[in-house]
């Protein structure tokens, strides 16, 4: 009699033992204690999947906020000369353009992955969907962190300047632009941390007992 029994096999075990009453009761005791962890594990997996879904919604809010905050930066200084106006927007710096694109792609991916997450809630023992979500989440961690770090480097440079390369700090003039950019970078880093948590939860629910 094998000990690795699922909930279906316990019925067969009970009908087999007919000779010894003592043995059958022992078998029923063994059968019932084996059945409970299976359902309990399904419940735990479902809880992790629900938490995963909620985290995805939070990540969507963060990434969308970062993309829109950076995308709507447009500051024009009140002073201007005869030939050109002093204005700064996100597409003046390629790092900021990449930042907006990366966060937009991350938000789009999160929206598309919500149905997969719902499938994982409804069917907690599906391995393929979780594996797919895990690998795509890992790629998105790299993507989002890259955008956030590049924008953070530019914002740091804009705030502090650099003496060796003679790059002047522009935040003294474009104060509002710098503030919006810094806020967007913070939101993007929050989205990246949420992606890392999503990877951990997918890995936790992938293991088999």
């Amino acid at each position: 009699m094998d000990s690795k029994s699922h909930s279906h096999e316990t019925a067969i075990n009970i009908s087999e033992t007919e000779s010894n009453k003592g043995k059958s009761t022992a078998a029923t005791i063994v059968a019932t204690t084996k059945a409970i962890p299976h359902n309990h594990k399904g419940g735990w997996l479902r809880g992790v999947a629900i938490f995963d879904f909620i985290l995805r919604l939070c990540g969507l809010v963060a990434a969308l906020a970062a993309a829109t905050t950076m995308g709507t930066t447009d500051e024009t200084l009140p002073l201007f000369t005869q030939f050109f106006q002093f204005e700064a927007s996100y597409d003046d710096l390629p790092a900021f353009s990449y930042f907006v694109v990366a966060n937009a792609i991350a938000s789009g991916y999160l929206v598309l992955s919500l149905p997969f997450s719902i499938v994982c809630i409804v069917r907690p023992h599906l391995v393929g969907a979780r594996l797919l979500l895990l690998i795509l989440d890992t790629v998105m961690v790299a993507f989002t962190t890259a955008g956030a770090a590049a924008a953070a480097a530019i914002v740091y440079l804009a705030e502090n300047g650099n003496s060796t390369t003679q790059w002047l700090e522009i935040c003294q003039q474009f104060g509002d632009f710098c503030q919006r950019a810094s806020g967007a970078v913070v939101a993007s880093f929050i989205a990246a941390v949420i992606f890392i948590f999503l990877v951990i939860f997918s890995a936790l629910s992938l293991r088999r007992h």
Binding site: D92, L93, T138, T145, A146, A153, L157, N162, I200
Partner: protein, 184 residues
């Protein structure tokens, strides 16, 4: 017949264990290459030191990695990641011997993802600065310094390559660990 079925089940179990062991060996191999890549990047960036041949009475024109805080962060991040990879080699060898380990695999996935995020942050921040050094920016009046500091620019651009290779390998490592987890 039953003995044959049992034998068949035993054979498939052996091949499954063989595939798991193969994945663990591939994991070790990827880690070793990633160590070389990230260590190479850290050393290449850390040894930048270019002095221009002309100088005035008061200031010498010199560029090092420590003049830009982003590059300092890059060197530190690559050093931390290569140290972590060396430490995780032991864990990888443990996984080759014991394919059943699950909790340690999950811990390894978590640390791999975190270290990948650190490496990506360093590499992409430096990439932004290198791009700025090559092209400059007209709106902010930032001058492209690569026209003067040629060798410094080449060194920093080249050291980014090893870092990006490390990022790709980290993604592969996370995928391998997740596959090994789900195949049990």
């Amino acid at each position: 017949m039953k003995a044959g079925a049992v034998e068949l089940g035993h054979a498939s179990k052996v091949t499954q264990r063989g595939v798991n062991r193969g994945m663990s060996i591939l994991d070790l191999f990827l880690r070793i290459i990633a160590i070389i890549a990230t260590l190479g990047s850290a050393i290449a960036m850390g040894t930048t030191n270019e002095t221009l041949p002309f100088f005035t009475q008061f200031v010498r024109f010199r560029a090092k990695y420590s003049d830009l805080p982003t590059f300092t962060f890059f060197v530190v991040a690559n050093a931390i990641v290569s140290a972590y990879l060396v430490l995780s080699l032991g864990m990888s060898i443990f996984h080759i011997m014991r394919s059943r380990a699950q909790a340690s695999r999950i811990a390894l996935i978590f640390f791999d993802a975190a270290m990948m995020a650190l490496l990506t942050a360093g590499a992409s921040a430096s990439a932004a600065i290198v791009y700025l050094a090559h092209k400059g920016n007209t709106k902010t009046n930032w001058f492209p310094i690569c026209q003067q500091y040629d060798s410094f620019c080449h060194r920093t651009s080249g050291s980014l390559v090893g870092s990006f290779i490390g990022i790709i390998f980290f993604i592969l490592l996370v995928l391998l660990s997740a596959l090994a987890l789900s195949r049990r």
